[in-house]
């Protein structure tokens, strides 16, 4: 046990040394170009966000961002080295320079942003805690759950969030505390509780595995904030800007109707919309400002499509995860996805 503490102390010391001795952070952009590949940290496997296809290629919502970034910087969405990271190894890997960007459904929190020395470059998925219940309950909203028994994973923020939500809404519930997430899911399926609560993206995937999926419903309420997004090391502002604007470009592309299919056509000449022209490099010199070539956004969008296309392909309503856009819709469609203007 003491050795373990020592080992952890050593990790922390190592991080401090790293932060202390390497403040310059030589330009990541140059490193990526010199290596000819982007080192992107992703999950070791999460339905819809990072998984393999039959040929062993990595795909998914988080992977698509890496591909767009690689395309913008190197002009080729396949020039990526994926580094698979667990919850424990993801932060040290980014600290030590083993990866250039981390795109692994990581919640943006103050301590990670400030204390660990990272820069979150935006939010690509607004997640939050939700509820699933049987339709036979006759309840249409989580606020009507008074008297229900709720399966919940112990020792997590989920448990605390639920308590907060119940108190504010005057709900009396009977908690069924369970050790792991998988067991909680099984307990709900075995009707040991009326309702099961966890992160909304996980709920959708869970529901998809039920044989009688149409007998269950996910309630509309989301009771906690889990903004997930890519992050880079703090200290290289140029690289952070590039990473941030690749994500913004994907969102703006949806806003402006630029898709994987029509992006080349729209980039061929000037269109009527000046913002499209600015983004696709036919007007102004925005690529140069970032240190990239003029067609960077064209390449990023051509890689996997705009935000909506990526969302729909991997986690959207037509996939087995069946997630609705919800908060992740554009601001003009009732969501909170809002990218700063391209100007």
């Amino acid at each position: 046990m003491r050795l373990k503490i020592l080992a952890h102390a050593a990790v922390v010391t190592g991080m401090l040394v790293m932060v202390g001795t390497a403040p310059s952070q030589s330009a990541t952009l140059d490193d990526v170009r010199a290596a000819g590949e982007l080192k992107c940290g992703i999950n070791t496997g999460l339905a819809g966000f990072a998984h393999t296809d039959d040929q062993g290629n990595w795909t998914g919502f988080d992977v698509a961002y890496c591909r767009a970034l690689a395309a913008a910087v190197l002009g080729d969405s396949s020039k990526i080295k994926f580094v698979h990271l667990t919850g424990k190894t993801r932060f040290p890997a980014l600290q030590s320079g083993e990866i250039d960007v981390l795109s692994r459904n990581t919640t943006w929190t103050l301590s990670r942003d400030v204390d660990l020395g990272f820069t979150f470059i935006g939010v690509n998925y607004y997640d939050g805690q939700g509820f699933i219940g049987r339709k036979s309950l006759g309840v249409m909203s989580a606020k009507e759950l008074s008297g229900a028994s709720i399966c919940i994973q112990t020792g997590t923020t989920t448990e605390l969030n639920l308590a907060d939500f119940a108190r504010t809404n005057n709900i009396d519930y009977e908690p069924v505390p369970i050790e792991t997430n998988a067991e909680a899911r099984a307990a709900y399926e075995a009707e040991r509780c009326d309702v099961y609560t966890t992160d909304a993206s996980g709920l959708a995937a869970t529901k998809a595995t039920f044989e009688d999926a149409d007998q269950h419903m996910v309630y509309p309420e989301i009771v906690s904030k889990e903004p997930l997004g890519p992050l880079v090391r703090q200290g290289d502002d140029q690289w952070a800007d590039i990473a941030r604007w690749v994500l913004n470009a994907l969102i703006i592309a949806e806003e402006l109707g630029v898709t994987q299919a029509n992006v080349e056509e729209m980039a061929a000449g000037k269109t009527d919309n000046p913002e499209v022209n600015r983004m696709l490099g036919t007007e102004g010199s925005y690529g140069e400002m970032l240190g990239l070539d003029a067609r960077w956004a064209v390449q990023a969008i051509a890689a996997e499509g705009n935000y909506a296309e990526i969302f729909d392909r991997y986690i959207g309503p037509d996939t087995k995860l069946g997630l609705g856009r919800g908060l992740n819709a554009l601001y003009k469609d009732g969501g909170i996805l809002y990218a700063p203007p391209f100007r």
């Binding site: 373990k4 080992a7 070791t44 496997g45 190894t89 030590s96």
Partner: protein, 371 residues
């Protein structure tokens, strides 16, 4: 009286042998001796039979008779039984990981060559044993070139390794290296030279006292932080080194147990014959000590082989990692949880059980004294 005479009747010839009572031979006899020899055994037998009756037919129904074997996605598995449809498109990833498909033959060849390499190492009575041993010694180099590339073969980085092949590579390397290192550590710990002894004790206690997963984390994260980025040791090599050192520490203690079982007389007799330390160890002490330690050594090997699944920490996908990966694929999610784990379990069982059987075999063939 006639009765009396019959009583004293002498038999001039041996009576012909009669068959043993039907109740003690054949199936019935075996069952009486092994299954129904006492009330307790009768009860246990009946309970076991009942358990098998309850468990086996439903398992077969699930795994074979009611299973789906074809389909492109999990949605095609409509039956009540297991879903094996993924085997067709995914078995290669379970065996080879992300190794380039056009180079699978290199892995296959390495595995095929492993058979003679192991055979010459493990069995005595084979033809051409003299040359075979050389081949066994050269095999690790041959296998490394085949798998990683070089000498005209296209290079394959170790992050492409995966599937069961990765378990074999990491497990065999650990097994081959941990035994000699363990022997040296065990001898060192019993050495009369204080520096050697203290170094060995410290090494053994540190590596035995820290969980393997912590050691791996140290190797992956801390080394990277202190080394300059250009001096980066291959991730897989680091993990293999750590697994090997971890197993060596255990091995050292197993062998030390064997060494302690050798009586002082053996040492004194060897010294009286004028043997030096290494001669004494090599010719007299170690052969006996290792023979005693076989069960413990194989135990450590099996543990080490199963520990190779921890490569998931460095983001490599061994057979267990591939199983988990397939379970998160949206096309298969929720359909293949049990099936993929079962496949991985079967692979591990075959290897571990073979090791166990070989060790029993070896013990019997070496059983010269100590009856």
């Amino acid at each position: 009286m006639s009765d009396e005479r019959a009583f004293y009747r002498s038999q001039a010839e041996m009576l012909p042998p009669r068959p043993a009572p039907a109740a003690t031979v054949g199936v019935v006899g075996w069952m009486r001796a092994n299954l129904f020899s006492s009330y307790l055994n009768i009860a246990l037998t009946l309970m076991s039979a009942g358990l098998l009756w309850v468990a086996v037919p439903p398992f077969l129904d699930w795994a074979l008779f009611g299973a789906d074997f074809s389909g492109a996605t999990g949605a095609d598995c409509t039956g009540d039984g297991a879903c094996w449809a993924w085997l067709d498109q995914r078995i290669e990833q379970f065996l080879y990981g992300f190794y380039p498909a056009e180079s699978y033959w290199r892995v296959n060849l390495a595995v095929i060559l492993l058979v003679p390499a192991l055979a010459y190492l493990l069995f005595d009575n084979l033809p051409y044993a003299r040359y075979g041993r050389f081949f066994s010694v050269a095999y690790p180099v041959i296998a490394a070139v085949l798998l990683v590339g070089g000498f005209g073969l296209e290079s394959v980085t170790t992050d492409k390794f995966g599937g069961f092949m990765l378990n074999l590579v990491a497990g065999l390397a650990g097994i081959v290296l941990s035994l000699p290192i363990g022997i040296l550590l065990a001898l060192g710990r019993r050495s009369r030279l204080p520096v050697v002894r203290i170094l060995c004790v410290v090494f053994i206690e540190i590596f035995r006292g820290v969980p393997l997963i912590t050691l791996l984390f140290v190797a992956i994260v801390i080394l990277q932080l202190f080394l300059p980025p250009e001096v980066s040791l291959d991730q897989l090599i680091r993990v293999m080194i750590m697994i090997t050192l971890f197993a060596s520490a255990y091995m050292a203690e197993v062998i030390r147990g064997g060494l302690q079982a050798i009586s002082q007389g053996q040492y004194e007799a060897s010294q009286a014959m004028g043997l030096g330390y290494w001669q004494m160890m090599r010719l007299v002490v170690l052969p006996q000590a290792l023979k005693i330690s076989i069960p413990g050594i194989v135990n450590t090997f099996i543990g080490l082989f199963k520990d190779t699944t921890l490569v998931i920490i460095i983001g490599l996908f061994d057979i267990l990692g591939q199983a988990r990966l397939l379970q998160t694929n949206p096309e298969w999610i929720g359909e293949v949880d049990h099936e993929t784990f079962l496949l991985a379990a079967v692979f591990f069982f075959v290897i571990c059980f073979s090791m166990s059987r070989y060790s029993i075999n070896l013990e019997k063939s070496l059983d010269t004294g100590r009856q």
